[in-house]
Structure formats: C-alpha cells, structure tokens
C-alpha cells in the first residue's frame, strides 16, 4: 500500500512557513495570505467539482464571510482574526444550509446558473445598502490575535501564520473527509446518481453536505481576505470574483487538497506579474495562461506531481 504523504507534506509546508515567514517581505506575506484565502474557496469548489458540480456563484459565500467579519468590527468592535474567521464560516455555512435545500436538487448548468443568480442577488442587496457602505463597502478594524494587537511590523506575519494554521487545518480535515464513505461518493455522484440511489444513499443529501462544506471554506476565505486587505466591498460577490475562483480550481486540478492553495498562489503570481508588466492587457495574460493549462495540463497543475503524492 502506498503511504499517504499529504498530512506530512502539509505539516512540512506549515512548519516552513511559520519558521521562515518573518523573513518574507511584506508584499510576499500579503500574496501568500490572499492565496490561502482564495485557496480555501477553491478547495470548496474542488469538492463540488469532484461530484460533477460547478458553482458559478461561490463568491456569494466568500462575500458573506467577508461581510460577517467586517460587521463584527463595525458593529461590535471585534477585530480578532480567529473570531472573524469563525463568524465568516458560520454566516456562510448557515446560508448554504438553507439555500442547499434548493441547490441540491439541481445539476449541471442549472446548478451553476442558480448559484450565480444567488451571488448576484447578494451583490444587488449590498450595493443598495447604505448601512454597509453601499458600492464603496467599508474598512475592517485592524487585526488582533486573542486580544493582542501585534506591532505594525508583525501584523502581516500574525495574519499569515493564522491563515496558514487555519487553512492547512481545514485542508487536512477535507483530506480526511475525502477518505470517508461520504467523501468517496463524489465521483459516484458524478458518474451515476441512479446507481447511488439504488445502493441506498441519497445523492441529494450528499450534494447538500458538500455544498455546505464548500460554503464554510469560502466563508473562512472571505473573512481572511477581508482582514488581510482591510477593506470589503460588494465586488467580492460579483460574478467575476466567482470566475476567478473557477479559474484557480481549474488551474489547480482536483487531485489533492494542497492543489487549490498552489493554484491560488500561482494565480496571484500571474495576476501580479501580468498587471505589473502590462496594466491594460493583464486579463489577456490570464486568459492565455488558462488556455495553456487546459490544453497541456487538463487535470490541472497538480497532475505534474501525480506519481509523487498519494491522493484519496
């Protein structure tokens, strides 16, 4: 039996980041933290994609998580990173639990477009809501950690370390989930729902569970992005943000729970470099990168490591 090296790999990368993090330049810390935030959303999309579902509206939960984190500071004066992430997860998870009763009935293009419609409804509500800053959004309170406010030089590292611990903890949890009977059901749902039902399982319930997990992850990602950037606005639920997450998921592939983070980091690097080199045509560079990935690595970036890491 091949040994499962994913937990070890996660542990090693986490340790390297925690130890080496303080030596990273501030801009790199920012890019890596945002990669964790977006990687969490892509991790949720990966779960859905394994079951054959593409959500064009995952920005809904990303944005809900961000606004839940922002509202904590704006209305209750709470700026603790972990409390913000918990609030983001709770807001997104609860919403997905309710909306999941509707979404879990649909497949294919209907699932995709319905999820897109829901995210655009949130966008519409936010741009009209003056208490939440309307189109401008609002600023987030400076981050604290268990009631302590790190010095200016350490804030970025503190948020990065928190992000790394939470993101890799959640990645491990998802990795373990993928080995459970319910987790393993994803490709079966993708292949043949009739057989799933006739073997005694509810495909709809399994999809509902995956949908809620994906939303929880997106909610944490949103809260993390909010506290890292320091500002939130309705664009976070706009369809182009959802497209960005799908881009990252395709870039990463669905073979490993680490892939979405690698994909998000690469996306950040391509985006930053393309914008730096050619501010007016950076979208074209992103498009070309996606095209190259689809043509040459249809299973995503992670297929490069196929033989080295075992996946559930």
């Amino acid at each position: 039996m091949i040994r499962d090296r994913t937990p070890l790999l996660i542990g090693a990368i986490l340790l390297a980041l925690l130890i080496g993090g303080p030596w990273l330049p501030q801009w790199a810390m920012f890019i890596v933290t945002i990669a964790f935030a977006k990687g969490l959303v892509a991790l949720g999309l990966m779960l859905l994609l394994r079951a054959g579902l593409v959500s064009f509206g995952q920005a809904l939960y990303y944005c809900l998580g961000a606004y839940a984190a922002g509202a904590l500071g704006r209305f209750l004066g709470i700026g603790d990173v972990f409390v913000q992430m918990l609030a983001g997860a709770a807001a997104a998870g609860l919403s997905a639990f309710v909306l999941g009763f509707l979404l879990a009935k649909y497949r294919g293009i209907f699932f995709g477009l319905l999820s897109l419609a829901l995210s655009m409804i949130l966008y519409g509500l936010l741009v009209k809501n003056e208490a939440l800053g309307s189109t401008d959004g609002f600023n987030i309170l400076p981050s604290t950690l268990f009631g302590i406010r790190p010095g200016p030089a350490w804030v970025r590292y503190a948020v990065l370390a928190s992000a790394a611990v939470v993101a890799f903890g959640l990645a491990l949890a998802v990795h373990r989930y993928l080995q459970t009977p319910l987790g393993r059901l994803a490709p079966a749902i993708k292949d043949n729902e009739i057989r799933v039902e006739y073997m005694g399982a509810s495909a709809r319930r399994a999809v509902h569970v995956k949908y809620v997990i994906a939303a929880l992850l997106a909610g944490v990602g949103g809260a993390l992005a909010a506290t890292t950037v320091g500002h939130i606005d309705p664009e976070m639920s706009f369809w182009t943000t959802s497209g960005e997450f799908i881009f990252i998921t395709i870039l990463a592939g669905t073979r490993s729970v680490l892939a979405p983070f690698a994909g998000a980091l690469l996306y950040g690097a391509i985006h930053t470099t393309a914008y730096d080199l050619s501010p007016n045509t950076w979208q074209m560079s992103l498009g070309i990168s996606l095209l190259l990935i689809i043509v040459f690595l249809p299973e995503g970036l992670w297929s490069l490591f196929k033989s080295r890491v075992r996946h559930p």
Binding site: T180, P181, R184, N192, I194, G200, A201
Partner: protein, 261 residues
Amino acid sequence: MSVILNARGLNKAFGAVTAAKDVNAAIEQDSVVGLIGTNGAGKTTFINMITGYLKPDAGTIEYEGRDITPLPPREITRLGICRSFQIPQLYSSLSVLENMMIGLGIVLRNAGLGGYFSRRRIWQTQPVPGYGKPAEEVAEHLLARFGLADYRDRNAQVLPGGVRKLLDIALTMVAKPRVLLLDEPTSGVSAQEKFGIMQMVLDAVRAEGATVLFVEHDMEVVSRFAQRVLAFYDGRIIADAPPAIALNDPEVKRHVVGRSA
C-alpha cells in the same frame, strides 16, 4: 415457505397506456421467480414499482408484512430489496474494485459505521454488516464469486458487455439483499454464454441467501432456472405457475412464447 414480498392490486397507467392492471403476486422466501412477457407487457414496470422508482396508481407492496409502497428507492434498498438494470448502471470513471468499494462505503455508512470521526481504518478493519468481513475482503470475495477478480483494476467504462452485466449484479450484492430483482441479466450476452452466466449469477446470489426475481426473454433459460413463472401480458399477469405449466399455458403460448396453442 413464508411470503417475503406481496404485491396486491397494483395498477399503473402512463396516460392512455396501462402498464399494470390489477397485478397480484406473493413471492415466497428463497424462491427463484422468472418474469416473462413481450416488450411493454409490464415486467419492468412491476420491478420499478417494487423498488420504488415508480409509484403505483393503486395497490400496495408489502415486504415482510411492511407496506413499502411510499418509500423511495434508497430506503427500499436499505430494507434489503436490490435490483440490477437492463442497461448496467456502473460508475464508469472508476475501476471495478472502486465500484464495489463505493457500494460498501454506503452500506457501512447506512449501518452507522465509518463516519467522519470513526477512529478505525474502516476499509481494512470494520466488518461489513451481513458479511462479517472488512470491506476490502468483501469486495474481493464478491468479485471472485462473479468471476470478476481478473478485472478488479480495470476501468468500468472499458469492460466487455457481459462483464458489465456481471459487475452490475455484483454491485447489488454488497448490501446483502434478501430480495434481488434482476432485469434481463443475460441480455446482450451470446447464446452460448447465457446458461453459464445465469448459473454463475444464481450460484453467487443464492449462496448469499437471496430470493430472486429475474426478467428473461429466453424460455430455455426460464425453464431451466426458474422455480415459478409470472407471465405478463398487457399489464396483467396471465399465468403464475411452475415453468412446465406456465410455459405450456395456451394464453402464454399465444401472447408470450410466440407459438399458437
């Protein structure tokens, strides 16, 4: 023998087409029942109603004295009634072994085992209900019984037709069914292979202790393997008797077998 499955007064219509007209059948435990009839006679409708895919317009289906008519397919499966399909329903992107493991995972989960917080290595150590062996061993055991051991690592999509049929039936066995409904288990299989495959299937299924209902068009297969025959015509059961009697019934000869009395 006691009655395990009892269909009473089943009626089903699709618009102007009547697919079941006052269908009554009491199936005895441990019996092997052949369902015969021309296309559109109501055999698959009967199976679809028993397994919950279709709800009868009138009538009830009792399983071990319990009314299962309103239940969805997955709950009927959990009670011990499983089915195979005329067109094999497989997980085509997965290997033969993975197909079996998906089913065994569902069985473990339905039994309240193998949840997220389970401390055991469920696939290697947790005994599967009904088999008393870990999932991986049950999968190997069933694959061997159905002659599929050599195909265990092959992708289901590239299997030959007969092997796909066998895997479809083997998949139904993971839940250790008490009643098994086989929809044309030998269709698409060459005439020479039919008897061998049917023998293997019945040996494997009966060894696990299941009552069997099978749909079949080949009367030689029916007379050799069925203990009792239900002959369908125009949504009705026109004969319910052992094969020697049913296949010689004038009405069955006229409408099903295709020879005049």
